[in-house]
Symmetry: C2
Subunit: 539 residues, 2 copies
């Protein structure tokens, strides 16, 4: 199985993906949870019983239909519920508790760029807040509109802008509609011998435009690059016009406006199309596991590979705790003994290149102290890599609170960052009588630094959402104190606006607010996401 | 000789670099010029006879001295002349003609970031235009202030902000003051075993901050990356505060504000410090020449290397005309026969890696149709690479008009771009009875495209500056028609503002103007460079 064979999953509200693939918790894990004080909560509120706010006012609906057509406007309960928030654990817990107060008033599905511009012009004049919606997989509140002073809130569903042009085989680029599901993009490219190589954990649900708007980093970023590095051109719709950028791979013509749009999370406009780099579909893949004596030893080895090579396509390292827990995962059975730190390397590419790099890599990994564990743990990781969100649903069912967060910094601060985040999580959650297990891995490496990805599990207390956000706020401050970034690939959303403002400082915040005021003077674009616009209209 | 052994050159007004290294034109070239209708013009106006505008008003000078100290303010003729414009051919021709009307009223040399901020605050309140000045090597009018409505114009000389911190050997980064000469930065790093690997043609004169402000691309960009790719953090001074960015190598925390500052050419603030990636000083270097049957065949080969590897550290390809002219260059004697297209490859790095890549490269180059010419043409290029600006001075002395321009686009449009630029130059200059020789080379490659660098030579007519700008304007329109970028690494300056505005469109222009209005509401920062600020204060 490779990524282009995976079907798009349904992405129904409240649970991840395809119900047929729901995870079963092994009995051993249930027992472990019980020992940790976790007990199953009551059943979630049935979706049919979740209360929604009123749909879009009919007078406004008439105006919206005049632009996108009747079939492009849905006011029904199912559509609105399916566009309520994203897939963070707080998002899921709120829906389980019957809270859909942030459902949009309508789901609007324009089918081309010009219609998006016209729709945004209407929304600005009618003071309708607009939440651009791709795959709906945000885990940072990127789809949680702040209704504030607005007359209404609509989800701007991009699913009808899903064109996939023919590949420019000379430049090795392709133009893709923002609403195209990543799975569909891979299928389109695979049929022609190409790949994007962009495989984030949200792969089965996410869209091309979503990756661009949030600076997604696929699990194979070491080899294929981050999504923001793949984008060589894009088209942005705003209430005050269109921006098209991308005249060359690189340019000295002023600031790189692509990099101003990428990561803007719908707050500065709606990306409707990107031109992205493609690569030949790999002839060969080799995924392998390695054991280091400790996480710290593994980090030194990853740094060496990132700085001096050979750099594999995929390169990850779990800490001791995650390495041990990995064995409790059915998908990891038969893996390494639960000591030390497990690294995964993946090589993809032309057959001769993969063979040559594998030889270099094995020599280098042994020199760096790694014990080779063979392809079993590598394949186990590769084939199980999209399983975690299913497992989370099962754990939430069982009464566990499970969530992830991530950050990045320079190699010289990485150990300090890891300890600061871990210590803060343990202190904050323990204060709520919910002592956590904190697992950590390095998921992305660069010559000058790396990202850290944390998985946190504890019991659900009486108010797990508030308890989690309190811990998350404390972590944000700890990350800031180290000088690291609040997010390496999840984005800012509404959850990170405060630490993000601290990270870029008052002048950085003013610059973004000035850009927003210029392109979106009414502030209708994703209010409360990324930045709090001046004038406080999103409060 | 390697780059870190080169001394900084004096950079006196009107001629490039060290007078002791001035080029002599060979007799054969003089004869060729005469055959081309080129005849020596009268002697340039002596620098002592060049007329300057009045220096800074004493009342303002007192206020500036109060901030930077007496020794930080120079009103003398020599200092002002040395900060007049840059090193484009029109800049040199104007000074030769005795025109220094764009000399700054004063040269101000603050010694730290806080002083720059205070100075900018004063300039905003006193309506003094500020031209940030690094090495003074702009070739696009980046140092040509538009006095407009301002009370005065000062050059903000960054040479006193030239600190070089110790290398962070774990992250492999270093913090460097913006005014540090690149040559001094290399010497600092070489003594510790590191290199930036950034060697643009302006290397002997340019500064670190200048590279950042203009998105410089060194000749070894294929291996070491462009300067904008090396910058992981920076500090920017503006009249309304300081921006510090760079918490991680990469982040999903909103738009990448580094990429908004890089390339802003002093119009959005003054970069005072950058944190840049460093690499181990190479143990080995191999520079070689190769001949392709034609430029088009060579382009196909470069594309193959850029897309599928092996990618050398340096990779260049001259067209047939440049290949032939190369032999008239004394530094190129003993090179290839003057047919086909000459490519240069350079490999730098650890000895074993260079040896391995050289083997792969040779095999691949032969497969791609290249005839190996050995190391002589490679070494000739490497050691002669900083010679061209000296040669230009000698050619201007002899009455030739010589200038360069550059652009970039995607591989699929590269041939069309080359012909559009060449045809436009020939048509425009021939209409002025100055038929040109147009040489072209590929200087930088990426997986999806490449840059084209043109050298143009013709006779100086009665008004060579106007004739050249007319040709340049026509080229700008031709580049736009192809959809390419107006500059790959020279920058926008004042020379490219019109085609740049067309390239980013009305919304892109509004976005930059909004950022400028926010950080620099009085518009004192480099007026007329990059964009024409709203309200037309730079006219």
């Amino acid at each position: 199985m490779t990524e282009s064979d995976l079907p798009p999953v349904p992405m129904l509200p409240g649970r991840w993906g395809d119900p047929a693939r729901a995870a079963e918790l092994p009995e051993s894990l249930r027992a472990a949870l019980a020992a940790f004080g976790v007990s199953a909560p009551g059943d979630p509120v049935a979706l049919d019983d979740v209360a929604l706010p009123d749909p879009l006012d009919e007078a406004l609906a008439v105006r919206v239909r005049a632009i996108v057509g009747d079939e492009g406007v849905r006011l029904d309960r199912d559509a609105r519920l399916a566009h309520t928030r994203g897939y963070s654990t707080p998002d899921l817990l709120r829906l389980r508790a019957g809270d859909a107060t942030q459902a949009p008033d309508a789901v609007v599905t324009p089918s081309d760029h010009e219609t998006v511009v016209a729709l945004l012009e209407l929304c600005a004049s009618a003071r309708i807040a607009v939440v651009p919606f791709g795959g709906g997989t945000s885990v940072v509140g990127g789809l949680a509109p702040q209704r504030g002073r607005f007359a209404a809130v609509i989800a701007l569903d991009l699913s009808a802008i899903d064109h996939a042009e023919e590949v420019d085989e000379v430049a090795r680029t392709v133009r893709l509609g923002a609403g195209l599901r990543t799975v569909a993009a891979e299928a389109h490219l695979a049929a022609r011998g190409w790949t994007l190589g962009h495989f984030p954990q949200s792969y089965e649900g996410a869209t091309i435009g979503g990756h661009a708007a949030t600076r997604s980093a696929g699990q194979a970023s070491a080899g294929y690059g981050r999504f923001d590095e793949m984008v060589v051109g894009l088209r942005l719709a705003t209430p005050t016009g269109t921006l098209e950028v991308g005249t060359a791979p690189r340019s000295a013509a002023g600031p790189d406006l692509r990099q101003l749009v990428l990561g803007s999370e719908g707050a500065l406009g709606v990306i409707t199309e990107v031109r992205v780099v493609v690569r030949p579909r790999p002839e060969a893949r080799v995924y392998e596991g390695w054991r280091f004596a400790s996480f710290d030893a593994g980090v030194e080895a990853l740094r060496s590979l990132a700085q001096d090579g050979p750099l594999p396509t995929v390169l990850r390292l779990s800490d001791e705790a995650e390495t041990a827990v990995n064995l409790a995962d059915p998908a990891g059975a038969g893996g390494p003994a639960p000591t030390g730190a497990l690294a995964i390397t993946g090589l993809e590419g032309a057959a001769d290149g993969v063979a040559r790099t594998r030889e270099q890599l094995e020599r280098r990994m042994r020199d760096l102290g790694a014990e080779p564990l063979g392809t079993a743990p590598g394949e186990s990781w590769r084939t199980g890599r999209y399983h975690a969100p299913y497992l989370r649903d099962a754990l939430l069912d069982a009464g566990a609170m499970v969530e992830t967060l991530e950050t990045a910094t320079f190699w010289s601060d990485l150990a300090r960052l890891r300890h600061a985040v871990t210590d803060t999580l343990v202190a904050s959650l323990t204060a709520h009588d919910s002592p956590p297990i904190v697992l950590c891995h390095v998921s992305h490496v660069y010559p000058s630094g790396a990202s850290l990805y944390f998985t946190v599990a504890c019991r659900q207390d009486d108010d797990p959402v508030d308890t989690w956000f309190e811990a998350k706020d404390a972590v944000g401050q700890a990350i800031r104190a180290v000088g690291a970034t609040i997010t390496h690939h999840h984005g800012v959303g509404t959850d990170h606006t405060a630490p993000y403002a601290a990270e870029i400082g008052p002048l950085g915040t003013r610059i973004l607010a000035a850009v927003k005021d210029e392109v979106d003077p009414e502030g209708v674009l994703n209010p409360g996401v990324l930045i709090q616009a001046r004038g406080g209209h999103s409060g």
